[in-house]
């Protein structure tokens, strides 16, 4: 069996397992998992921009907020529920992402990181101070419905799982296409990419927009999962930091990495319980350890282990097992 076949088989098994889980585990855990799904979606979006295109963002919590508040305000004033809210949240987030992409075109490395951080803080300031967003009072959303039918925690779990599956499928299709190759080309060498006819301005902006739209989907789903949004959650930069941490720890330019990283940043603070703040220290340690010893993240390590196991089983030595990102990291110091 080829590596590609294994990849597809294991992915299908993982999704089948997740689809069966609500029948086995208490609904509380189903809820925790659907919360994780929203983070996975966000991490997939951030990974498209930071992992594949090589543009580091510390501001995509801002797009998570755009998605969340779009659907919250629509629910409050128009009485809509999950599907229209998620679609509108993704669209608005994508449009704002396109705009931010244009503004940030000439920035790279640390400067881009700072500019995107500024964006997240600006969104936070707006949420805190503009009356329509209700600041720390927050907006409460009604019971979730799907085309008029009320759905409970388990129903919402399946919406989250389906959304995560679709986002991953779309992202997989994009990064394997000529467009995705152009994103990666810009990361590896801007000058050579340009010489191959890749329009840097266009492709960077498009990458920004797609990534923002995906994170917007996550944000809108998060609002419906929590059924409450407030500046307490969205009015600072912690979400943005969480997403970037998820991508780096999980594995840059890897879908599996997005999932692992998102699960890490959600579940670690959860299991720490009252020691939650300790999670920030753990995240920091994880970042340093990964960047120092496995720049391709936990997913990269797993893939390499899997390849050598597969090679051993099939009785051949795997050729050149080296980390994908060995010697890279240019986007961190450009």
């Amino acid at each position: 069996m080829s590596e590609r076949a294994w990849q597809i088989l294991l992915t299908l098994l993982a999704f089948a397992g997740l689809a069966l889980l609500p029948g086995i585990i208490p609904s509380f855990y189903a809820s925790l998992l659907s919360f994780t799904f929203t983070y996975v979606i966000a991490a997939v979006g951030v990974n498209l921009l930071t992992g594949y295109t090589g543009l580091v963002t510390v501001g995509h919590g801002g797009f998570f907020a755009v998605g969340a508040y779009t659907t919250a305000l629509m629910a409050k004033y128009l009485g809509t529920s999950v599907v229209p809210g998620v679609v509108a949240g993704a669209l608005l987030s994508g449009i704002i992402g396109f705009g931010l992409g244009i503004v940030c075109l000439r920035l790279g490395g640390a400067f881009l990181a700072i500019a995107t951080l500024g964006f997240a803080l600006a969104i936070g300031a707006i949420l805190n101070n503009w009356p329509v967003f209700e600041g720390r009072e927050g907006i409460t959303l009604g019971k979730n419905t799907l085309f008029g039918t009320p759905i409970g925690d388990v129903g919402f779990y399946y919406i989250g799982l389906l959304a995560m599956g679709l986002v991953m499928l779309a992202s997989w299709s994009i990064v394997r296409s000529a467009v995705g190759r152009a994103f990666i080309a810009m990361r590896d060498s801007e000058r050579a990419a340009e010489a191959m006819g890749i329009n840097l301005r266009l492709y960077k902006t498009v990458s920004f927009a797609i990534s923002a739209a995906i994170v917007g989907v996550g944000g809108a789903l998060f609002a419906h999962h929590n059924r409450y949004v407030s500046a307490e959650t969205f009015g600072n930069a912690w979400l943005s930091v969480d997403f970037l941490t998820a991508v780096v720890v999980g594995g840059q330019a890897s879908l599996l990495g997005s999932a692992i990283g998102a699960a890490f940043v959600v579940l670690v603070p959860y299991y720490l319980g009252t020691l939650q703040d300790f999670a920030y220290i753990l995240n920091g340690v994880a970042l340093i350890v990964v960047l120092r010893f496995a720049p391709d993240g936990v997913a990269g390590v797993l893939v390499r282990l899997f390849r050598s196991a597969l090679g051993a089983v099939q009785g051949r030595t795997p050729a050149a097992i080296a980390p994908v990102t060995a010697g890279r990291g240019s986007q961190w110091n450009r």
């Binding site: 299709s173 000529a178 995705g180 190759r181 060498s189 990419a193 010489a195 006819g197």
Partner: protein
């Protein structure tokens, strides 16, 4: 007929005149050499053609189209491709991906590609097939799925050539293609360059220090020194031209 035409091009870096009224006229179908000592402005001139460098006076045109208003990504679709002085590959990607990225201007509808629509998948299959046969032609088919950063130097050079030709250019700009190559690799690359020119019919402009390559492949040569044309002619004429010997070896050598 004229392929590339450079007329009176001037480039200033601060107070330094990198190029002063340079003229180069490359006939269609030829292999054209651009030589000169270090700092003569050869790479700067290349960058003017591939639009990485702006010029303050003069004009560059390709098959009658003025390149002045175009950006670096625009010239590829006109049919101009280039390689870089130091290998500049997409290093974390495979040989195949590098060639495929070289086909960027033939990718078709980007939305169809991103969503894997039937039209996009057909196009992708065709591109992959052509990339495979190009790799075959350049002798890199056996490393099609290797990351290029793990390839030996000579292979990386071939990948870069294949990637440049993947856009199906009419004009190929080679910036020091044999820099760092040994004699054997040099003669192999000379063979490949001739093949590209004669078999595929691509006009080639080559910047090179290595006179054995220049002598072996070039139909005509322009010599630059301190940003000026100092001579033009066939390899035999140029390599015995007093001004050229002076530029390379100093004045004493001419009188000696």
């Amino acid at each position: 007929m004229e392929s590339l035409s450079i007329r009176g091009v001037e480039v200033n870096f601060g107070g330094l005149k990198a190029l002063a009224a340079v003229d180069v006229h490359v006939p269609e179908g030829s292999i054209y050499g651009l030589i000169g000592p270090n700092g003569a402005g050869k790479t700067t001139l290349f960058n003017c053609v591939s639009r990485f460098q702006r010029y303050s006076a003069g004009a560059v045109s390709f098959q009658g189209t003025d390149l002045g208003p175009l950006g670096p990504h625009d010239v590829v679709s006109l049919g101009i491709a280039r390689t870089f002085q130091n290998i500049n590959l997409f290093r974390t990607r495979s040989t195949l991906d590098n060639i495929l990225i070289g086909m960027h201007c033939h990718k078709g509808n980007p939305v169809a590609a991103m969503l894997s629509l039937p039209a996009g998948r057909r196009r992708e299959r065709a591109m992959r097939a052509r990339a495979g046969s190009m790799a075959e032609m350049f002798g890199i088919a056996d490393v099609l799925h290797e990351r290029v950063m793990h390839l030996p130097f000579g292979h990386q050079k071939r990948v870069e050539l294949a990637r440049a030709l993947a856009s199906e250019p009419k004009l190929l700009l080679l910036d020091e293609p044999v820099a760092g190559c040994n004699e054997e690799e040099t003669s192999e690359l000379a063979e490949i360059i001739r093949l590209i020119n004669r078999k595929i019919g691509v006009t080639v402009v080559v910047v090179e220090h290595d006179m054995s390559l220049v002598r072996a492949v070039c139909d005509e040569i322009t010599v630059l020194d301190f940003g000026r044309n100092i001579a033009r002619g066939s390899p035999a004429e140029i390599l015995n031209h007093p001004a050229v010997i002076e530029a390379y070896l100093g004045e004493a050598a001419v009188h000696a």
